[in-house]
């Protein structure tokens, strides 16, 4: 029920979120998270490497977990790979539910998971690999309580 796509192409975050509720009247809340490439410290572009066989499988598994944990009605997860410029959208998590709490929590849960468990690696155009942040592990750990 949650669509998962891993792609090099850009996506239209607004259209993806809006499409979740098209033609139905049981959805009361859509929470959409879009992650963008920040141009920190002069970064102008980065390249996202990933592990294709693992990526879609792992994202689908976590989407199942979210669906079991919250009463979700629809969702779309898109993660891009390849070369991206500062300001480009990189990840989308859009979740629809009858009520807002489930949609907010599931979207935050999925993003925390993607940050710590989805097999993607960012390299700046300077050739330096982006370091993982311990804060991301802490954020993900809160869902194990």
């Amino acid at each position: 029920m949650i669509n998962v796509r891993v792609q090099a192409a850009a996506f239209d975050a607004g259209a993806e979120a809006t499409a979740l509720a098209a033609g139905r009247t049981d959805i009361g809340a859509i929470v959409s998270f879009t992650g963008l490439v920040r141009g920190d410290d002069g970064l102008t572009a980065l390249t996202l490497e990933h592990y294709p066989a693992m990526t879609e499988r792992q994202i689908a598994a976590i989407a199942e977990q979210a669906s079991a944990r919250w009463p979700l009605l629809a969702g779309t997860i898109i993660h891009r790979h390849g070369r991206l410029l500062a300001g480009d959208p990189i990840v989308l998590v859009a979740i629809a539910s009858a009520h807002r709490a489930a949609a907010f929590e599931a979207a935050a849960f999925l993003m925390d998971w993607l940050k710590t468990r989805a097999p993607f690696w960012k390299r700046g155009d300077d050739g330096e690999w982006v370091a993982a942040k311990s804060g991301d592990d802490d954020a993900a750990a809160r869902w194990n309580a």
């Binding site: 992650g35 996202l48 592990y51 066989a53 940050k115 982006v130």
Partner: protein
Amino acid sequence: MQLLYFAWVRERIGRGEEQRDVPVNVVTVASLLDWLATLSPGHAAALADRGAIRVAIDQEFAWMEASIDGAHEVAIFPPVTGG
């Protein structure tokens, strides 16, 4: 066994994948990393900091103590930085 390397692990080893016959006394993820580190200076450099190494067996994350018995594909990479 099919071995896959990503990000700076791949860069230091100098290739993204290789097929290796693993000795029979190599039974856990940790011992696999120890053995791989002996294969070349690049392997040694890539695997020197074990705290910065993550491993997946057949596309599932695995602990250092996990058995590699029956594994078809073992991937070795740094902590992920997607999202």
